[in-house]
């Protein structure tokens, strides 16, 4: 493609024309030449094609270096000055600027390709940090609630303002056969200090519609809320599902799909992981029960990471039980504050929170690293514990301090994790109304760190606190003496149980026994040793304190365990029975099905 000598100059002009750098005279001359020279016309076309090719070439997956950069920057020598400054900056003005910036992004085309579940988690968390306000409307279709009602339809409206203002209105649009069916209308209004919920009060679903109890509404108010006191009344996963995506271990990335014309990412996970999202629009009232292993499909908007749609299904059944679709969502510039003005009605409870400065001794224990979150409310809760919190957008971090050994809650399954260079933390996955958390012990103190940050970030926060110790072996509470099981006791439990009875790879990771007036209790928690899948624990529990199975309104399944009548709660994944010796036993295994749990129960009983 070597041009004739006289064409060489014109080719250079063609190049300059492409960059709009040609003088009018040169342009005229070039035009004349192009009229005569086919080779130069081809060259011109090729140049345009080349530029298009260069600009349209598919891009490689682009890594997210934000966390790494911000971490390096905070270690810069002038860090102290810098941090002090950004705390003082007028946040409101900057936040407004960021919103402008965020909404002016060229959208979908710039979104990086995603291959890894970890990318989804990271990107969603990145997006959530910048979020200030949110407004959305959802359509909900529900099936399987009652045999006489094929499907129910709802409209849900959500308003949110970071970090703790939330309003939800769920309106039942179902055409019920008669007027005696209760309408499942739900309202929630939350502000930093007060939450209020209104929900229908009605008979258990099975008793409908011919129920003797008069249907009505129940109202509850919580005043003096602690910061971030639970996910049910400020269920921010409906905005960006941080809690749901916090651990990417069991997240299945299906691929890129379009929902209502928007580029979305389709991911799959189980209900036991996705409940913070799925239950966000069902904080009260009566709904179809869902099971831990139900499949949840979520379509996340690739630009904002808002959930555009999610469904809950139980293969092989054909139709999903729940289909939720966003019909409208946006980030309004402002939301009238009155929207978040929670009434004080119905049953009023106090969270007991009082704003206070942190005692000097505790200030030294605060984390060096807070994942970039800013200090937020701090004070004392109703139990007299000191509470500090940090937030940014949707993300929060809350630390509760108390004296070592003063709390009996070492009974919960905890995974011992190494945090920082020399500390141990006790990690617990999210549970209904409780976020993920790590407990630290040391210097006669106990610190509970709760957060919707990513698990790695939560561990880093814990590692940056100067608490280096182990959980106390013995605690006293209300006349009970609670002892953590020793390593050798756990090994005995392994020998006796895990190898023969439990699924492969399960090891006894923790346990406790308690004694006091009225009896003794023993709990052992088994976890798969190589993974940290949330909700995969198996917990064995025994008590001489319980003499009959506690009543419940759940839909239970009756099962025989070696001659004892046992009952199975699908919702809790728990099998309970009183054995031949009169001892209450329970196996909780949300990730196993009934036959597997019954198998474990029979093996234990016959041993």
């Amino acid at each position: 493609m070597t041009p004739e000598p006289r064409c060489a100059r014109f080719r250079r002009l063609i190049s300059m024309q492409l960059d709009e750098h040609l003088t009018p005279d040169d342009a005229q001359e070039l035009d004349r030449h192009l009229g005569e020279c086919a080779a130069c016309r081809a060259f011109e076309a090729s140049q345009h094609a080349l530029r298009r090719t260069l600009r349209l070439a598919p891009v490689a997956q682009t890594p997210d270096v934000t966390d790494a950069v911000m971490l390096r920057i905070t270690r810069e020598p002038n860090r102290q000055v810098w941090e002090a400054r950004w705390r003082l900056t007028a946040i409101a003005g900057v936040a407004a600027a960021l919103v402008v910036l965020a909404t002016s992004f060229p959208v979908l085309e710039r979104t990086p390709q995603i291959a890894q579940a970890a990318d989804v988690t990271r990107l969603a968390f990145a997006a959530a940090g910048e979020l200030d306000t949110y407004r959305a409307t959802f359509e909900i279709v529900e099936r399987g609630w009652h045999p006489d009602i094929e499907e129910r339809r709802f409209r849900a409206d959500v308003w949110y303002r970071a970090p703790e203002k939330f309003r939800l209105e769920v309106r039942d649009r179902t055409r019920y056969p008669t007027g005696s069916w209760p309408r499942n209308d739900i309202d929630v209004v939350s502000s930093p200090t007060r939450s209020w919920i209104r929900q229908p009060y009605a008979c258990p679903t099975q008793a409908l519609p011919g129920c003797a109890i008069q249907a009505g509404v129940e109202e509850r108010t919580i005043v003096r809320r602690q910061p971030f006191d639970g996910t049910s009344l400020v269920p921010t996963d409906i905005v960006v599902p941080l809690e749901t995506l916090a651990t990417s271990d069991a997240l299945n990335v299906v691929g890129n799909e379009r929902i209502e014309g928007r580029a979305s990412l389709h991911v799959q996970l189980s209900y036991r992981q996705a409940f913070p999202l799925v239950d966000a629009l069902r904080p009260g009232g009566s709904w179809v029960p869902l099971l831990p292993l139900d499949r949840v499909d979520v379509w996340l908007d690739r630009e904002s990471w808002f959930p555009l749609r999610y469904t809950v299904s139980r293969p092989p059944q054909e139709h999903p039980f729940l289909e939720v679709s966003a019909t409208d969502f946006r980030r309004p510039g402002a939301i009238d504050e009155r929207f978040f003005d929670a009434p004080r009605r119905g049953i009023v409870r106090s969270g007991g929170f009082v704003r206070r400065e942190l005692p000097e001794g505790l200030r030294r224990l605060l984390p060096q690293y807070t994942a970039g979150l800013r200090p937020y409310r701090r004070g004392r809760n109703g139990a007299g514990q000191s509470v500090v919190s940090f937030t940014d957008g949707l993300s929060f971090l809350k630390i509760t301090f108390d004296r070592m050994g003063s709390r009996p809650d070492i009974d919960e399954p905890a995974e011992v994790v190494r945090v920082g260079e020399s500390s141990l933390g006790y990690y617990r996955p999210a549970a209904p109304r409780l976020p993920r958390r790590i407990d630290l012990f040391g210097r006669g103190r106990h610190a509970r760190i709760e957060s919707n940050l990513r698990r790695e970030q939560l561990a880093r926060v814990a590692g940056s606190m100067s608490l280096r110790g182990r959980a106390p072996r013995v605690t006293r509470s209300g006349g009970l003496l609670v002892r953590r099981l020793t390593r050798s006791q756990l090994e005995d439990a392994d020998v006796g149980t895990a190898h023969d009875v439990l699924p492969d790879g399960y090891r006894a990771m923790g346990g406790w026994s308690s004694s006091g007036a009225g009896g003794r209790e023993l709990a052992i928690v088994f976890l798969p040793s190589q993974t940290a899948l949330e909700g995969s624990e198996i917990r064995l529990f025994r008590s001489t304190r319980v003499h009959q199975l506690p009543p419940t309104s759940e839909d239970m399944v009756g099962v025989d365990v070696e001659g004892s009548a046992a009952r199975w709660s699908r919702e809790r994944g728990e099998l309970e029975w009183i054995d031949a010796a009169g001892i209450y036993r329970a196996i909780t295994a949300p990730s196993l099905d009934l036959p597997s749990v019954v198998h474990i129960a029979r093996e234990i009983e016959s041993a």
């Binding site: 298009r52 090719t53 349209l56 900056t89 900057v94 060229p106 910048e130």
Partner: protein
């Protein structure tokens, strides 16, 4: 996904001011916003994804250090690309000029690739054959829509030299990619 490169949008001046005044959120938003562009730019120059990621990170750390000196004389994106380009220069000085490029060229094609992916590989391979002094101007001008003047300033050469280099680069690329470039570009 097809990324439409081309002109990179400028940030809101208020965000730059806030970042310069030490606002971490503002700077973080700049990182988040421009990291993909910086990474792609660096990847065009160095062609090693791991090295490109490291250099992208380094570029923003340096940008943070120098941000107080940025007075808005040039576009922010041009300023940021200059920093990234300096980081690339440092890196290649350290490791030998574009040492990793040769390893990768010719190994990327795969029969199972889509036309888009094949085209992308061909473009990358064609760009890889250009000497650095031609590669930089054509990437800045044709991929990221910088002007001759901005490119000349960034590369510290005369504007006329840039015109000439970008022209030579295009000639070489057209010779390599051939006349089918047009059809393929339309497909893309």
């Amino acid at each position: 996904l097809i990324a439409l490169e081309g002109e990179v949008e400028e940030p809101d001046p208020r965000v730059i001011s806030a970042a310069r005044a030490g606002d971490a959120r503002a700077f973080e938003s700049l990182v988040r916003r421009y990291q993909a562009d910086v990474y792609r730019f660096v990847l065009h120059l160095i062609r090693d994804p791991q090295a490109a990621e490291d250099i992208t990170q380094e570029s923003f750390v340096r940008a943070f250090r120098f941000l107080r000196r940025y007075r808005g004389d040039s576009r922010f994106t041009t300023w940021l690309f200059s920093i990234a380009r300096n980081c690339v220069v440092d890196e290649t000085r350290r490791w030998g000029r574009r040492h990793r490029v040769a390893d990768r060229v010719g190994r990327e094609r795969d029969a199972s690739m889509s036309p888009d992916q094949t085209l992308a590989v061909e473009v990358r391979e064609a760009l890889a054959t250009l000497p650095q002094e031609l590669l930089e101007p054509v990437v800045l001008i044709d991929v990221f829509s910088l002007s001759y003047r901005e490119t000349a300033e960034m590369l510290s050469v005369a504007e006329g030299t840039i015109k000439s280099r970008v022209h030579r680069a295009r000639e070489q690329l057209i010779a390599l990619l051939g006349p089918q470039g047009e059809e393929r570009a339309d497909d893309a």
